[in-house]
Each structure stands twice: as C-alpha cells, then as structure tokens.
C-alpha cells in the first residue's frame, strides 16, 4: 500500500515499451504451437485482465467469471475440488465445499488482477502441482484419485505450518492459504452461512439483545 506513484511515463518511453512488447509477443506466439496458446491457466504468472474498477454496480449479484476470465485448467480444477472437499467435506449439517461453488471461487481468486491475488496465484498453482506430484510419488495416482486415508496421509504432513518438516514448509504455506480460501468461499454461501447458525441480515422491528439463557451460559445472568 505504498502511496508513492511511479515516475510519470513520457510518451517516448511508453511508445518504445509498447513496440518492444508487441515484438516480444509476436516472437513468443510464433514459437508456441497454436493449441498451447488456448490452454486455460497454462501460465502461472500472466493475468492481464482488468478489475471491476472503483465504481462497480453494487446492487447486482455477481458470479466468478463475471469480471475476469477463470484460468484453472480442468486438471487443476479437479485437484482443487478434491482438496476443497478434504478440507470441508459433507457432514450431517452441510454439503462439501465443491458442491456449493468453492472451486469457481478459488479459480476467480487466483485469476484476479489485484496485487494480493496475483501474489497468491503462483502459490496456489505450484501447490496444486505439488499435491499431484506428492500423490504420484507416494501412491502412483493423482491427488483427486486417492482414497480418503491416502489424502489424509499427505495433508497431515502439511496442515500446520509451524509443525511442518522443512521439506514440507512450502507445501504447508500453500495448504494454509488454500484452507483460508476454501473456508471463505464456503461460509459465504447460503449453505455455509446456515452451517454457522448465522441468522442475521434480516430486518427486525426491535433489537432485544441476548436472551436470559445466553446470559446464563456466559455467567452474566
């Protein structure tokens, strides 16, 4: 959140940069097979979409993909879904994370053109790759194809950053971020919100404060 602006560009330097950039893009395009250019999420860094700006319509309801394209590949989405559901599986009270759109949310997040999300993008993409490589090396399968106990065997090694062995440090940092995103994505859905017994966001005629049984429970009655 630095308040310093970069020095103003002169028209001359901007022209040179643009010309150089166009030249670079032509060269890059020529050296890649056409099919590869179309792959979603092939690059771990490049997000050149625009954000929603400083004056978006706040009344509308939005979905991931409305402002900028989603970029995870089908394979990455499959690993994302498996890990989401390992973190938030279905239970008696609410569905699994992937069943309520959390994969789309994580895709939206890592595809977003904002500084924090750009920072998270390589962490998530590298981490998803690591999960599959680790699954392959331990169990000869992709992470999504593992049984629950196999998934847990990997996750147990990386679920707490402060306790992870040095070899798992980077994966543990990824897991912590991924769990945060999964939770944020899940608990904001109607199903996740209901899971928390959140009963607000409705107009009330009066605000009555906590009932006596709650005061008793905390020892204030």
């Amino acid at each position: 959140m630095s308040a310093n602006d970069s020095p103003p560009e002169t028209g001359f330097s901007r022209r040179i940069e643009r010309r150089a950039a166009i030249k670079w893009m032509m060269t890059a395009a020529a050296s890649l097979p056409l099919a590869q250019l179309r792959i979603r999420g092939a690059s771990p860094t490049a997000i050149d979409a625009k954000g929603y700006g400083t004056d978006p319509d706040l009344i509308r309801s939005y979905n991931p993909g409305d402002f900028w394209p989603l970029t995870l590949t089908d394979a990455q989405r499959r690993t994302t879904a498996a890990l989401c559901d390992t973190i938030i599986p279905a239970d008696g009270k609410s569905p699994a994370a992937s069943a309520v759109g959390v994969v789309d949310f994580i895709d939206e997040w890592i595809s977003a053109p904002y500084p924090q999300q750009r920072e998270h993008r390589p962490i998530i993409l590298d981490g998803l790759g690591w999960m599959d490589r680790e699954a392959a090396s331990r169990f000869k399968k992709g992470f999504a194809d593992l049984a629950d106990n196999q998934r847990n065997a990997i996750c147990d090694d990386i679920c707490l950053e402060s306790a992870a062995k040095p070899a798992f440090a980077k994966a543990a940092a990824f897991f912590a971020l991924f769990r945060n995103l999964t939770a944020g994505g899940f608990y904001t859905t109607p199903e996740g919100t209901k899971d928390l017994n959140y009963i607000g966001n409705v107009p009330l005629a009066t605000f009555d404060g906590p009932p006596p049984e709650v005061l008793r429970q905390v020892g204030l009655a």
């Binding site: 400083t54 904001t188 109607p190 919100t193 709650v214 429970q217």
Partner: protein, 600 residues
C-alpha cells in the same frame, strides 16, 4: 439529486462551498436554510444512496466474496466509490522513503464524501480537549471553550440523530436532556467485555453513533433547531419524516438506503436542496481560490472532470470544506501577487501541524463465547459500547509516560460471514481440516473479539504537507507531498493500548492472538491510516501563529473560511466528524450574521 452544470451556473452566489461531506454538508444546510444562495462543488460524481446502496447483498454475491481490493479497499459493498488510498490519476507523494514517515491519504470522490461509509461514531470533545496546552503544556489551545461549542453539539445530535447515554464521565460531556436517542442493547460479547473491563477499572459505556434507534421527533426537533425560522422548520420536518429507524441489519459502512444513519447525502443535502437555495455541481475539481484586487476571495477555479474544461464560479464568500489536506492543497495552489506562497498563508503555516489519530489493535478468542445458540447480533451495524479514556488523573500526574488519552472500540459477535471467515485459525485449531475443521469453525465463530485503540496525537513540526514542486495530477493540478513523524507520546500510547487490550482479553478468560508487542512504534498504524486527518490551517488568536480565527475565518482574507477538519489545533481521541459538524454550524451561523451586517 438535481444538479447544475458548469454551463448553467449563476453569475454569482452568496457563498461557494467546496466539498459535500460532513463539513460542506453542514455548511450548505445552515446557510441555505437561512436564505443564502449557495453553490456547492464536489470533485466526485453524484451519488444516490437510496438507489445505490447494497443493503442485504451477501458476500457470496460480490466478486472475491467481497474481499478488499485496491479498487474497493473496505470491501466490495462498502459505500465508497471512486476513492481509496490511491485515486487513479491523482497521486500524492512522500518526502521520505522511510515507511515510518509515510502518510497515507484516503479520499472519496463522490457526493457526500467519506460520510457515506464512515463508522458513525459521534463523540464530543470535552473541556480539556479545547485547552490541552493549558493542561499539560503541549500542542495548542483552541481559541474557544467547550461551552462555546456545546450548543452546536446539541443541535448536530438532534439533527443527525445520535444514540448514547449521559454517563457524567470526566472530559466526556453529557448532552442536554432529550437530545440523545436511546442506545441499542449491548450484545453478549459487549456485556462480557463491560463486566470484565470493569474489574480492571475501565468503564465501558454506550457508544455514541449517528444511527436512528427510533425515528426522529419531527414534530418538536425542527423548532429547537431553527427557532423563529418557519421556513427551515417546515423543510427540516419533511426531511426528518423521510428517514426510517434502523431495522437492525446491514453494516453501516455500506451506507443506508432507508436513511437510518447519518450521511451528508441523506441528512444534510436533502433539506439544503429542498430550500431552493442550493446549486450543486458535481465532477468539479477545485484548483484554486481566486482573489480580487481588494484582497478578497472572488470565487474558485475548477476543472470539469467530464470535459476537462476549466471553469470559474463567483461568490461573495468562499468556504473550503474539501477535507483538511485537500483544502490545504487548494490554498497552497492559489498563488497571487499578494500571497506568493498561497492564499491566506502569510503565517507560512498552511499545511503545517497535520494530525491523525493514533491507532493500534489486538484480537483474541474467548472460550465463554463458544458454541452459543443462534443469535442475531447484527445490531446497529457498528459499536454498541465503547470505553472512553479513563486515566486522566494518572496521566496528569505523569505516571503513564505519554501525555494524551485514547478510547477503546470493541469488535466481535456473529457477523455476516465474509471471505475471512474461518481464516487464520491454526492458532486455535492446531491445523485441523476435514470434519474436525468444520466443527472448529462452528465452535470459534462468534467467540473472536478485537480491540482497537483510538488516541490523541499531539501536533508536531515534522508532520505536515506541502506542494510537490515537480508533480501534477491528471488535471494539471500540483499535488501534495507529505512529511510525517510520530512522537514518543504516540508510540508509547500505542504500546499502552495493546498492553491494556491483552489484560482485558485475559480477564475475559481468553487467549491473545499473537505476541503482545511492547515497542509502540511496531504496533502504531501508519499516519493517515485512521482517516481522521485534521489540521493544516489551525485556528488561534494570533495571525502569526495560526491561519484561522475561532470562526474558521482566515486571518488574511476576511471572506474565506474553512469548515472541515483543517482548523483543528488539536485532535482529541474523540473521532473528529461530529466536532467538524458542530464547528461548521457555528461558523455558518457567524457567516449568516456577519453577512447580514455587511461585514463580509
């Protein structure tokens, strides 16, 4: 709101008001209801809270689940549009590369400015706060006393609607009887804090916020606000009838489409418009105050943001209320033969003694609040209770190591789930995932509490703004360059804050999240971060040591006033908005009276 354009301005106005926030809104309200013809210029776009406010939209409906981005720093549904720490094309610069000497400047380019999203905390400065130098020898006294402003605090509270209690506490003034609205009932986390903080000698009382816990008494208040002015009474009655009471849902930071909280756009501007005496020009970025050959302000030059064209508005009186730093910028950019260093700057003090509020925070988790039954804790969309500063005697006796006080704002409860829900809980869960994680989130949700200190900064020589000689914004207007330095009074105060917060959390039987830092310079927020910047044209009796007099009138130019936070010579821990409004009302009454006497 019906607007004028740069091409339909009248040839001249009784008064020109620059800015449409708390100060500009109050100024235009008072002047127009007293019959003056006013032009208000706002740099941002028109904004209609009744139509544009996201009320019941959930974070699921927002991109990124509503998370903060540089485009919408306080979250997607926050009321601020075209604002933030950076405004595209309108930079500001820092004199130093040292992050500790950085000042961050929040701006909102929209009708109503920052009042659309603010926290609605509406405090009064107390008697000590107007005479701080007399009390401890530091900073500056105001040329007015609490008693001079008290009637205007009453008026502002009656007009905008403020809930709270009269607790009779030291330097925390009561309102006159019948002025305040009843405070909302505290939530369970607030009751627990109140109970435990009391054991530590910290008073936790009803907060004061500009939210209608019941409808305003539109039958009686208008006559109290405007005695003898039937025109104003009729208009204000109608405006008050248009405001609903709070329905105990939706965060105030989004603004309020039912007008249950104060925003300039829903409270000050509608009656001003209804008077027929206000012309409102939006997208008009004021560059400078123009002067006539008699040394009087003649109007303002502005850039029409839609066309990029320059325009001029003429008026008999010019009132800057563009926010402290923006008003300073306008003055410093107004250079004439008489004022080569900026209009009204013969003292050389325009831009000097910039202040913000000291901020530090700490969070914790309270086992007693775990696994509570379902509770609706949305409440009034902000604080129901707070702790006013309580150590005046110890401080005056020199026992604390810092000279001024702070108040505590509490957070907690079962809020609307957001992108951050369930995040960063490893310190509680040991890294759980799966079914255990879901159980943990249920267990801890609603048991997390946060404490924010808001303290007084003493003005100093090293905190100021000036014009950057090299840089202009996209309108060609020279930009501000900031200098910033906290003193030990502020950093020690910040250390005292977090130490106190940790004590309260432990007294509640809770766990503190993270270490409790003892070095205040590591926990104090950056300058500007609390968005309470005031000063820059400080008021005083002596024209050589102040820019304005007690009427917020510049010593140098008789018909030039400032009604934002710029004239503040001190910045009490009490959030400045209500004092800006009370001072603007007092100044406006003075302007009306002097204009009638042909003194301006």
């Amino acid at each position: 709101m019906p607007l004028v354009t740069a091409d339909t301005l009248k040839p001249s106005y009784d008064a020109i008001v620059v800015g449409s926030g708390a100060g500009g809104g109050q100024t235009a309200y008072t002047l127009t209801l007293e019959g003056m013809k006013v032009l208000m210029l706002e740099a941002g776009r028109n904004y209609v809270p009744e139509q544009e406010t996201a009320m019941f939209q959930t974070n699921r409906e927002a991109p990124l689940r509503g998370a903060s981005t540089p485009d919408k720093y306080f979250g997607f549904h926050d009321a601020t549009v075209d604002g933030g720490w950076q405004v595209p094309g309108e930079p500001y610069t820092q004199a130093s590369n040292d992050p500790k000497q950085e000042f961050t400047w929040w701006r909102a380019r929209m009708l109503g400015g920052r009042t659309n999203h603010w926290g609605r905390l509406s405090f009064r400065n107390g008697p000590y706060d107007f005479k701080p130098k007399s009390r401890d020898g530091l900073g500056f006294d105001w040329p007015i006393r609490y008693e001079d402003l008290a009637p205007y605090y009453d008026k502002v509270e009656m007009l905008i609607g403020v809930y709270g209690n009269n607790d009779g506490l030291e330097n925390t003034p009561d309102s006159s009887p019948g002025v305040l609205l009843p405070p909302p009932k505290p939530r369970v986390f607030e009751l627990l804090m109140q109970d435990r903080a009391k054991r530590l000698g910290i008073p936790v009382v009803a907060a004061r916020r500009a939210v209608l816990t019941q409808r305003l008494d539109y039958e009686h208040l208008p006559a109290k606000l405007h005695p003898g002015n039937l025109f104003a009474q009729r208009i204000v009655k109608e405006a008050m009838q248009g405001r609903a009471a709070c329905f105990w849902a939706t965060p105030c930071g989004r603004g309020c489409s039912i007008r249950a909280n104060y925003q300039s756009t829903t409270v000050h501007l509608p009656p001003a418009m209804a008077s027929g005496n206000l012309d409102l020009l939006t997208d008009a970025m004021v560059r400078e105050v123009t002067m006539n050959k008699h040394g009087r302000a003649s109007g303002v030059t502005f850039i029409d943001r839609k066309t990029g064209r320059e325009g001029h508005a003429a008026g008999r009186i010019v009132i800057l209320s563009a926010s402290a730093c923006e008003s300073v910028r306008i003055l410093l950019n107004s250079r004439t033969a008489q004022f080569p260093n900026g209009v009204a700057n013969s003292s050389g003090l325009v831009g000097k003694y910039l202040m913000d509020t000291v901020g530090a925070k700490l969070s914790g988790q309270i086992p007693l609040l775990e696994n509570l039954p379902p509770l609706n804790e949305d409440g009034a969309g902000g604080n129901h209770v707070y702790a006013p500063w309580w150590l005046y005697k110890e401080q005056l006796a020199g026992k604390l190591g810092f000279a001024r006080g702070y108040h505590i704002e509490y957070g907690g409860g079962r809020g609307l789930p957001s992108a951050g829900t369930g995040s960063g809980m490893e310190w509680l869960t040991g890294g759980s995932y799966g079914r255990k994680f879901k159980e943990d989130v249920r267990r801890y949700y609603g048991s997390l509490v946060s404490f924010s200190g808001r303290g007084e900064m003493i003005p100093n020589e090293k905190s100021f703004c000036e014009i950057d000689p090299d840089k202009k914004d996209k309108w060609g207007i020279p930009v501000l360059r900031f200098h910033w330095q906290w003193s030990e009074h502020e950093t020690r105060q910040a250390a005292h804050m977090v130490k106190t917060f940790a004590e309260v959390i432990r007294e509640m039987g809770g766990r503190v999240n993270g270490p409790v830092e003892t070095d205040g310079s590591k926990v104090i927020m950056p300058g500007g971060f609390i968005i309470h910047e005031v000063g820059g044209t400080i008021m005083g009796e002596d024209p050589s040591s102040s820019v304005t007099n007690q009427w917020c009138q510049t010593h140098d130019v008789k018909n030039l006033f400032l009604t934002d936070g710029a004239p503040f010579p001190s910045n009490a821990d009490k959030n400045p908005t209500q004092t800006i409004m009370a001072l603007a009302w007092r100044t406006s009454d003075h302007i009306v009276s002097e204009a009638k006497k042909q003194n301006l």
